[in-house]
Each structure stands twice: as C-alpha cells, then as structure tokens.
Amino acid sequence: MIPELGSFSLILAFCLASLMVVIPMAGAITNNQLWMSLCRPLSSGIWVFMVISFACLAYAFLNDDFSVNYVARNSNSLLPDRYKFAAVWGGHEGSLLLWVLILASWSYAVSLFSKNLPLDILARVLSVMGIILVGFLLFMLLTSSPFERTLLNTPLDGTDLNPLLQDFGLIVHPPFLYMGYVGFSVAFAFAIAALLSGRLDAAWARWTRPWTNAAWAFLSIGIALGSWWAYYELGWGGWWFWDPVENVSFMPWLVGTALIHSLAVTEKRGVFKSWTVLLAIAAFSLSLLGAFIVRSGVLTSVHAFAVDPARGMVLLTIMLIVIGSSLLLYAIRAPAVKGSASYTLTSREVLLLINNIILVVSTAAVLLGTLYPLIHEAIYGEANRVSIGPPYFNTIFVPLMGLLAFALGVGTFSRWKKTSVVYLKQQLSKVLIASLAFGIVIPVIVTSEFNISVIVAVVLAFWIVFSIAKDIFNKTSNKETFFKGLKALSLSYYGMQFAHFGMAVTILGVCLTSHYSVERDVRLAPGDSETIGNYEFIFEGVSLQQGANYQADRAVITVLRNGDEYITLEPEKRLYYATQAIQTEAGIDVGLFRDLFTALGDERGDGSWVVRIHYKPFVLWIWLGAIFMAFGGVLAITDKRYRSKKTVKQSQNESVLSGSSSSKPTMAAES
C-alpha cells in the first residue's frame, strides 16, 4: 500500500508540475495576475508530494519491504538502519527520486524567498523549473520508477547495498552534490526568464547571485565530500582520479565559479550580460550532462549505475529540449542585449573577464578529456579504445590554476572602471616580494631541497594570502581602530576573501600532498615494523571481527612517534555476507599537517600481510580549502544587501501587483 502511495504521489507531482509549466507562463504572457500567482501554491504542492513519495520509499527501506524491486536490489535485512535510509539513493531509481525531490525543494525555496521579485518574473522562473520537473518526473515514471513491485515470489531478503556504498559518505555526499548540481537550475531558470521577458538588467543579476552562491557552496562541499570518501574508502590513498563522473561534477563547479564572478560584474556594472546568461545556461547544462553520463553508461566509470541505453535516450531527449531550446532562445534574444558602461584594461571588469576565460578554458579542457574516448572511437572505430588518464588533465589543469591564482592576487586590488597602474604596481610589488620571500625560504628550509613546482605553488598560495591581508589592511587603515575597520566591511566582502583564502589552502594541500607523500606497500608479519620519518608502524597482527552484516579481518598497527607510543590504527578488510564482496576500510590518523594512512591488503601464506602505509602531509588542507570556499559563499548570501532589499522591494512588489506587472524593476534600492 505504502509503495503505491509513493507512486501515486509521483503522478500527482507530475500533474502539478505540468500545470506549473503552463498556467504561470500563460499568465505572464497575457498579464493575468491570478494565473501568475498560482505558481506559489503549485510549487509548494509539488514539493509536498515529492516529500511524501520520498518518505514512502524510505519507509519501504526501513521496513525491509523486499516486494519493492528497488529495495530488494539495494538493501538487506542485516543492513544497519542508517544505511537502509541512505540506500534510498544508493541506486539509479532512488537517486533520481532524490534528484527530483531536491529540484522541487529549490523551486519551493524560490517561491518562499521571492517577496522581492516581480510576480511575472517569479511566474516565468517557476514555469521554467516546472519544465525540468516535468521532464525528470516523466523520465522516472516511464523508465525508472523506484516503486515497482514483485508481488509473486517476493524475495525473502535483499541482495544488499553495494559494500562500497555502506559508509558515512553515502549518507552525506549525494545530497550535497545534488543540492549543488540541481541548485544551478535556479540560475538557469532566472536566465531563461530574463531572456523571455527581455529584462536582462542589473536587478536580474542581483536576484540570481544568492541562489548561485548557495548552489555553488553546496557543490563545493559535495565534491570535497566525494573526494574525501574516495580517499578513505577506496583504500589506495588517492583523493582525485579524473574519473568521468568526478569530472562531470567538477565542470559545473568550474563554470559556476565563473558565473559567480561574472554575475558580480553584471550586477555592479551592467556589462557582460549576454556572457553571464550563457554561463548560467552552461552551468546547469553541464549538470544535466553529468546526470546523463552517470546514468546512461556511455563512459566506463567506478561510479556508473547499471548501464541502460533506454534511460540514456530519454535523458538525451530532455537535454535536447531543455538546453537546445534555451540556446535557441539565447541565439535569438542575446544579440540585442547591450552593455552600457565603459572600462579600461586594468579595471576589475577585465580582471574578472580573465578569471572567466581561465575557468571556461579549464572546463573545456576537462570536457574534452572526458569525452575524448568517445571522439576517438567515433573516428578510429570500436577496436581502438583509449582512456585519458591523469597525465593529460594534470598537464593542462595545473598551469591554468596557477594563472588563476596569479590573476586572483591582482584582481583583489583592482577597482571598477579603472585601476591606476601606479597604484597596482605599488600594492603588488610589496605582496610579490613578501610571497617570493616566504614561498622560497620556507620550503627550502623545511625540506632542504629546491623543488621548483613546490616553490611555485607555495609562492602562489602566499601571493593569494598576502593580497587578501594587504587589501583588508588597506580597507581598514582609514578607520580609527583596526576592529572598527573590520566591522565596517560587508559580509559579502568577507565571503569573497574567505573563498579566495580557501583556494590558497587547497593549492597548498594539493601540491604538498602530491610531492611529499611517502607511500609504502610492505609485507609485514606480526611483530614487524616499518619506519617513515619519525613514525614507526608496528604490525601487531590480524584478528577476525564480526560486524552487523559482514565479518572483517582487523589489523592492529601501533604507531610510535619518536619512540613513544602515539596511536593505534585498525585498518580492516571486510567480507560482506549478502554480496560476498570484499571491502577495505582504511585506518587513518587525521592531522592538520599530515595524515597517517594504513590499509590492509592480502594475506600471504606464511602469516604475513600486505600492508599499505602512507604518510600524507597537508592532505586535509585540500578539503579544508573547500570548506573555506563554501563558507565564503554562505557569508556572501547572508550579506544584508540582499536582505535589506526585502522591505524596499516588497513595496515595489505590491505596486507591481496593483499596477502593471511589466513595470521595469527600478534600481532605486541600489546605492
């Protein structure tokens, strides 16, 4: 009964979404207030039915309802409850349900926080989101319903969730990632609404900015969680593999980062409008591409769901309709959009344009590398398969990020319209000298070697940090006290600086881990030890442990630091009963400046084991940087610039309601 209720809710959500496509849009075209205002109740209705549907599936999982095919394939009665719940999105059908639930949540959120939006814009935005909802709900109902049942010969138990997924990572990584992916649909919908209404102005950019920041912050955390999960779960100590599925989550992030910067220019200066719109379309299009690549199986990947070309066909159709029509609209409407302001070569506008170019080129490089196996096969035939590995991506991506970091420092001191070259030189020379000094001296003293790529990375990290510090110092120096000066700075300014600081932190983490990790795969008998630096790892032996749905060989490794007992690590090798799959669980001591990573390999005949011992300096900083970036994004949203508008805009909104809805939102609130 409950699964049918879930299925029925999906159908109702689909019906409401169809109405949300048609009625508000028709209202916006014919200027019918009632029809337009229906978008709010419709979006909340869709959200409610999606929540019910999701709850039904979660209920089926938690109550071991194996008559539901999807539950039988992805759960098992022995599975711990928290994983039963997370298993809701452990396979294709359920993760699609989560995807649509999140899409419905974003559109509901737009309708909730839209008091300052003109009604006709809101109607168009929600109508565009409705189109995406209709597409994906139809996809789910036709090809991928998670509620399908086998009522005869119901399996007695489920085949169990893939052991790789039985981890805390599954609970948090997909929801964050999808919040990010799907969140870009809001910026997309705003862009389409702006193109449709022909009002591509600064107000449009201001409405879009908080939504883009929010989606971007979620995506930053989502990607970082995925990378962290791979690091401790896959058991070989890597944190990024340039796997197609990683790449498709990274591309929307890169374009989203470009979009955040481009929106700033469009809002403040009214230029780059058509470029910004294109980025908004591109960010969400790349999210759709990601959904397609993960779910159609065109590329081999560790993440891919079961291969099904039929699903791929439907997703391709959705992409054709959604992206194709928006790019067509773009080609028709965008040429008419004109930028108004003028700027010079040393202006902030140009520096942000450089930022955009670097990020878009990086995205293009990642896209090309990801799709290259397909291109190669299309040209040379099936027998010639190639795979593009990390060497390609690193060769192209690392120098581009170096350029980006350099431009970031310059950009920090730039001003709108025009920055005096003398001023820039004066500011940057001090920062340059300081970062060169610290960036060269510190690595050379600590490592007593001259490694040029490490030095470049450390110099760039200091370059970013010192420009941030100098800029904050400059901006506070005219106030009576330093703290008064700090208080006077806006939250969005702090948001920017936090995010930039995060970039420096990540650069350091990536570079130092890559260059100074010590990785040993050794064969140890109980009592043997292995020394890395001032850490000695003593292999005490392996014992058999029982888990809820698995049994494990658990090793005990005592770590001595400078001869004193420091910590005990317990890496495991698990055998899951239901699937008979073997899964490693790394034993990690997390530290701010270094991780000690141990994983258990195979047993050798003589009682010895293959043990993987890694010393990974600064690896935590990779993800710490992402947290700073996401925090920066959140700070920027909370800036009162967006909130104080509410009151001003509300009255405006009312005037729109009472008067003509097509009245152009004025910029009165600006300044």
Partner: protein, 181 residues
C-alpha cells in the same frame, strides 16, 4: 564576422556534443575486443563435471563443441555476479533449445559447484572443469563471468564480459547468433 552569428556558436557546439553522446549511447562501454574473436577454439582436453558421479572419466575436447552454435560461459561459485546471472541462464537455455550451453567451471571447488547446480538447476549441456584456469588463459578470460559465442565450425564469434541479463541477451547475443546461423 557577423555579431549575431557569434551567439549561434554555443548552440552548434551543443548539437555536435549531443551527436557524439548519441553515438556513445549505442555502444557497450564494457565490450572488450578479444584477440580470439574470429579465430578457432584453442586446443584443450579437460575433464567434464558430472552431477551424479563423484569423478568424471570423459574428457571434453573442442570437437565436442562443433556441430551447432555453442554459448561458452565461464562461471564459478565464488563469483557473486555468476549467482546473479545464473537464473537467467537457466531460463534462456530452456527457451533456446537450438543452442548448446557449455559451462566452464573456472578455478572452483568441485563439490560446491555440484551443490550449486543441483540446487539451482543447470543450464549447461556439458561442464568443463578448469581447475587451474589454463583454459581461461587460452580464452584470455579476465574474470568470471565471461561468455563466448562459438559458431558451428568452432570459430569464436563474440566475447561478452560480465553478467548476461534479458536486455543484454536481446540486444547483443541475439543479433550475433542470428548473423551466424
């Protein structure tokens, strides 16, 4: 260059990418070209697994496999995907009486293999025992399950890596089989 034309470029790029993805959709990313495809069966002489007798006397050679299309399936009880595909193999072997299904029990415990087949039914006309995996090496098998289509002249015509299900059977096996019949 006309300024308007500039705005069409994103759309054109998108359409060409869509074409590429459409091309990619038609292919099987797990298909591995095998050196053995379109070559005759390798020579071998291995014992067969008998379900009712403790020991097998009869040796199976490539000659036993000619005279009809055979489906050679490498499987083992230690391989979880083999458990998954087994019911489908039983089903398809019953409906496709014209094909002879040959199992290769790959590096397995013979008693367990026997128990497994007794319990779940055997789709195989003959079962070759490949205890040390030497036949697997000759076929270039990377793991289990793998399935080969062999025509009536003893030529290997197709290699499939991974589980067979209804969809894979309809979309990849049936076309190959009907093309060599």
């Amino acid at each position: 260059m006309n300024k308007r034309a500039l705005f069409i470029i994103p759309g054109l790029l998108f359409i060409s990418m869509l074409g590429l993805l459409l091309f990619g959709l038609g292919r099987d990313p797990n298909m591995v070209p095998s050196a053995l495809v379109n070559r005759p069966l390798p020579e071998f002489s291995l014992p067969g697994l008998e379900l009712d007798a403790a020991e097998s006397i009869a040796l199976i050679t490539p000659e036993d496999l000619t005279g009809g299309i055979s489906i050679i399936n490498f499987w083992a009880t230690w391989c979880p995907p083999c458990h998954i595909e087994h019911p489908y193999l039983v089903e398809i072997s019953e409906s496709e009486q014209g094909l002879s299904f040959i199992g290769v029990n790959y590096k397995d415990d013979l008693n367990e293999a026997r128990l497994f087949l007794e319990e779940k039914g055997s789709p195989f006309k003959k079962i070759i025992v490949d205890l040390d995996g030497s036949l697997g090496i000759d076929f270039g098998v990377a793991g289990a399950p793998e399935t080969f289509i062999v025509d009536s002249f003893g030529m290997i015509r197709y290699r499939h890596v991974g589980v067979i299900n209804h969809q894979i059977w309809e979309e990849t096996f049936e076309p190959v089989i009907s093309s060599i019949q």
